[in-house]
């Protein structure tokens, strides 16, 4: 479903701040795969998701979604196939607009937007039913501005928006990181339910190792713009948080060894 080949992204190319965020990433995600993506800060996880979503042009490589080469397509065109949830709960919804208006916008993702009513009579029933599944009481607050809601409520709505029209791929970038543990748990539950309901091909970044192993069917670790670990199936089932931490330390130590060697040279 997602094919990434030889992807390179360099920020501030040719300046003193030059920063190689992706240095040749190859990744094939099969239809229905739920991949969890971990790695230290600055490893390039967000950059990889943003590159797939089309937030910026890449310096080399190709990205295909469902067989179609999207490398040169602008972000809003790729959005037809992509559902996204960001780390910041404020980023996924329009605060000044009502819950039903936000959902209605998402319900038209990838369709032509014209002069028909934005929120139609039939929509409301559907929205109410969807919101009821959250168990947050939002089904009775369709006309409340989203800005009145808490971070967890907004993130839950963003998840509904990302999946209300079945996306070909779902991109989640630490979407529970800004929430308190209890809310994070609720949002993660909702994520699992939605992914299972529609068998969504999913790429989820998390800094929580346990979350990375408990959810999904494949785990990838990135470091310095590369994929350094890619486990699934039997091998993944045997993996513990400690194994992942060991792997982290291993690459860290390699880095230090490298810089030590450079110092010596």
């Amino acid at each position: 479903m997602i094919q990434v080949e030889g992807l390179i992204k360099i920020f501030h190319r040719g300046s003193v701040n030059e920063n190689v965020a992706l240095s040749g990433v190859d990744l094939h995600v099969a239809d229905g795969d739920f991949v969890t993506l971990i790695g230290s800060n600055g490893a390039g996880k967000s950059t990889l998701l943003n590159a797939v979503a089309g937030a910026f042009p890449v310096d080399a490589g190709a990205i295909r979604i469902d067989g179609r080469d999207v490398t040169r397509l602008p972000e809003h065109v790729r959005a037809r196939d992509i559902g996204r949830v960001f780390q910041d709960p404020l980023k996924g919804t329009a605060a000044s607009m009502t819950i039903e208006e936000n959902l209605a916008i998402a319900a038209r993702r990838g369709l032509r937007r014209g002069l028909a009513r934005g929120v139609r009579g039939g929509d409301r029933e559907e929205f109410r039913a969807l919101l009821a599944t959250l168990g947050l009481g939002l089904e009775n607050r369709l006309r409340d501005p989203v800005g009145l809601l808490s971070g967890g409520q907004r993130q839950s709505i963003t998840l509904l928006m990302a999946t209300i029209r079945r996306p070909k791929i779902l991109l989640l970038d630490e979407h529970t990181a800004a929430l308190d543990p209890k809310t994070a748990h609720l949002v993660m539950d909702l994520t699992d339910r939605l992914v299972e309901r529609d068998r969504l091909t999913t790429l989820m970044v998390t800094h929580n190792m346990e979350q990375a192993l408990r959810h999904g069917n494949r785990t990838i670790m990135m470091h310095r713009g590369r994929i350094i670990l890619d486990v699934s199936g039997e091998e993944r089932r045997g993996l513990t948080v400690k194994d992942l931490l060991d792997k982290f330390h291993e690459v860290r130590t390699d880095d230090e060894g490298l810089s030590d060697r450079m110092l010596l040279a």
């Binding site: 972000e75 919804t93 605060a95 208006e101 916008i105 937007r113």
Partner: protein, 299 residues
């Protein structure tokens, strides 16, 4: 203030409410401070007046004026989105350029329409005196435009436009090209502003290249006054507020002009200063007040 002056202020309030609705659309809905309006208001007037004086139909002249205004708004949007010029600067560039364009369109600094047919002419002399007729006509136009705008802002496209101003990252992720929505919004806004200019020119009987000076400040004053009076809880409230704000603003101006402080009397040329002070107070007072309240709470 005489009844006659009062009706005059009411007429202006409704006439410029069309412009204020345009300013609301950019400033509040799209979060795009657009100074193009200082040029697109006289552009609407210039196109309309020129068309009429060359023998054209006054209704067609208004349509042409609106289209010209829409093009002006689109140019600003193009500079801001495609050429990535800062929005404020982009709109100033269009505004400045429009000064020359308006002079070119008219061929001279002002055009008199007193002896020409206007859209008001067929309504005159049917029992209602002009100082009552004109405010009514403008109120009717404002009502139609206001309802249309309310309807549009609740369509699929309208929701996309509102979300563009609220959260561009979100609406892009929902598959909307924000370049398009910004262009659409600025075109609609400046179309309304040009409509206002064209109608004002026809009602006051002249188009003048300098008539746009201070348009943005008057528009902002109306929008802010409206929010203070009615609130902005929903699009409907906000639109009603803008119209009300525009009327109250013109009444306040008329009042200010009618009072004397000893030897000092305010003249129309003082209006821009008064308005600027008004906007500063309206924008600055809420912050100042919460600061004072906090200080009092601490004390």
């Amino acid at each position: 203030m005489s009844f006659y002056t009062f009706m005059g202020a009411l007429e202006q309030g409704f006439a410029y409410a069309l412009m204020a609705l345009g300013v609301y659309l950019t400033f509040r809905v799209l979060d795009f401070p657009d100074l193009t309006v200082d040029g697109s208001l006289p552009l609407g007037a210039a196109v309309s007046a020129t068309w009429i004086t060359t023998g054209g139909d006054p209704y067609v002249s208004i349509a042409l004026g609106v289209v010209a205004g829409m093009v002006a708004g689109w140019v600003t949007a193009f500079l801001a989105t495609k050429l990535k010029i800062l929005h404020l600067l982009a709109s100033i560039l269009t505004m400045i350029a429009l000064y020359s364009v308006n002079l070119r369109v008219m061929g001279r600094p002002n055009i008199t329409l007193l002896t020409e047919p206007t859209v008001f002419a067929p309504l005159e002399g049917r029992g209602l005196p002009n100082h009552i007729l004109y405010p009514l006509v403008f109120a009717a136009v404002v009502l139609v435009c206001g309802v249309l705008l309310w309807w549009f802002l609740h369509t699929e496209l309208g929701l996309a436009l509102r979300a563009t101003g609220d959260n561009p990252a979100m609406i892009t992720a929902q598959g909307v090209n924000t370049t398009f929505t910004v262009m659409l919004g600025l075109a609609l806004s400046n179309g309304l502003v040009a409509l206002s200019g064209a109608l004002v020119a026809q009602s006051q009987g002249s188009a003048d290249v300098g008539m746009g000076v201070g348009t943005i400040v008057a528009g902002l004053a109306s929008v802010i006054l409206g929010e203070a009076l009615v609130g902005d809880g929903s699009v409907g409230r906000a639109l009603v507020g803008v119209v009300l704000g525009s009327v109250v603003y013109r009444l306040a101006i008329a009042t200010a002009l009618s009072v004397r402080f000893g030897d000092l009397a305010l003249t129309p040329s003082d209006l821009n200063l008064i308005t600027a002070v008004l906007v500063v107070v309206a924008l600055g007072v809420p912050g100042l007040r919460s600061k004072l309240l906090r200080r009092r709470a601490v004390a």
